[in-house]
């Protein structure tokens, strides 16, 4: 029987990618969750501002990267490179069948983060808000890009991947960001953490994706989630 380690041709690989925002193919449709969560018609004026800002932001770059490491579960803890993670019940259950994890982070970087702050909220509220939500969509789509990339490349090796799992989600305390970043190269993508484990630039996301022969992708179930006002909640 071949071991997963052999299927994964390289162990402990780190990949860093720079992506142009235009590659993320952002459109007003991506902003709908924020602009009109219940599907009410968005006034043309806001569509126009959004289109104009998206086309300007399309020229910027974002950074993304991940590293793949062996992982095991010990009772209710996740163990990666001598580091133990208390990821909470929902997440540990999803990772029990994973033999590896892709630990990733994505960020808009300092240059784009500053661009996203170019409007003064006091005087140009709508513009500032629209640019801010485009920033959220940019970083969310960059994370999706990485999740997809990992899933596709693992699939070629006949391995399956789980959903993306992040500190701050379910019962996984945000303070474990420090341990997560310990698994990544120093100064990874230029992201820094403050005392509470918040990432800067603030438009950044981090997480892990389980990899294994029997790993399973679970669609998250909104019914069991307590975030009743969640803009992503499926009605």
């Amino acid at each position: 029987m071949i071991e997963v380690a052999e299927i994964l041709d390289v162990k402990n690989i780190t990949e860093e990618i720079k992506l142009k925002v235009s590659d993320l193919d952002i459109s007003v449709a991506d902003l709908k969750e924020y602009l009109s969560p219940t599907g009410e018609e968005i006034p043309q004026y806001f569509i126009d501002i959004s289109n104009e800002e998206i086309s300007k932001l399309n020229n910027f770059y974002v950074s993304a990267g991940y590293t793949i490491l062996p992982a095991t579960t010990e009772v209710d803890l996740l163990k990666i490179s001598e580091e133990y993670f208390n990821v909470g019940k929902e997440i540990i259950d999803q990772l029990r069948k994973a033999e590896y994890v892709a630990v990733y982070a994505v960020t808009v970087g300092n240059e784009l983060e500053n661009e996203l702050l170019k409007y003064d909220f006091q005087t140009q509220m709508s513009e500032a808000y629209i640019v801010d939500i485009i920033g959220n969509v940019i970083v969310e789509k960059t994370a999706l890009y990485i999740q997809n990339k990992v899933a596709v490349s693992e699939k070629k090796k006949s391995l399956k991947t789980t959903n993306s799992l992040s500190p701050g989600n379910c019962g996984w305390d945000i303070i474990e960001q420090f341990k997560l970043f310990n698994l990544l190269p120093d100064n990874f993508l230029g992201i820094t953490l403050n005392n509470s484990g918040m990432m800067y630039p603030s438009k950044s996301l981090s997480g892990m994706i389980g990899i294994g022969k029997k790993a399973r992708f679970l669609h998250s179930d909104c019914k069991t989630c307590s975030s009743k006002n969640c803009v992503y909640r499926k009605k």
Binding site: L35, Y45, D173, N229
Partner: protein, 224 residues
Amino acid sequence: MEILEKIAHCVEFGKINKKSPYPPNMRNEDGADEYVKEALDSGIEPNDVLKEGLMIGMNKIGVKFRANTVFVPQVLMSAKSMSVGMAHLRPHFISGAVQRKGKFIIGTIKGDLHDIGKNLVAMMLEGNGYEVIDLGVDVGADKFLEAQKQHPGSLIGMSALLTTTMTNMAEVIVELKKVDPTQKVFVGGAPLSQEFCDKINADYYAPDPQGVIEYANSLLQLAS
């Protein structure tokens, strides 16, 4: 339409000034900027311009936002119209002719950076006549206590979007109430509920900014 009504209408529909192209059906018409100036020039009391004009409009948009018929961008246009009108009232605030309803300290709880909701609540409070002291994100007990000391008698609001850090609110509430047992604390954010609010001994939970305003106003009525 009477001028105060026109002011309220401009705020409700986000008509900032004559130049502003939004909303399209009010293009080339005067906005909050022009009408507030006109009202003050014609001798209407600044206090009436605020309470019978600007704030009425802001309240109407708050109600629509709660009912999900308008969204953040429209609310922002209203808030902008409001603030442009308020600029004309500034001298009257300084002279004491117009007074704010009270102070409201707000911040996103320690360990959390999500601030879109908190900013909205802050904006709506401002539009409804409160002075807002925004402590930003990742705010711990020390900063809340410091603000409470600096602004005694203020209402305090906390926002949380992370289920793992929303529990940090509990200890901040204990500390704040130790200093002032009558301190009113408001909590909110997507994962919160009335049940959680009761559990951590907060005074008020609302799923939307309008709820905050209504409760804050009711406290004022009790006090007076």
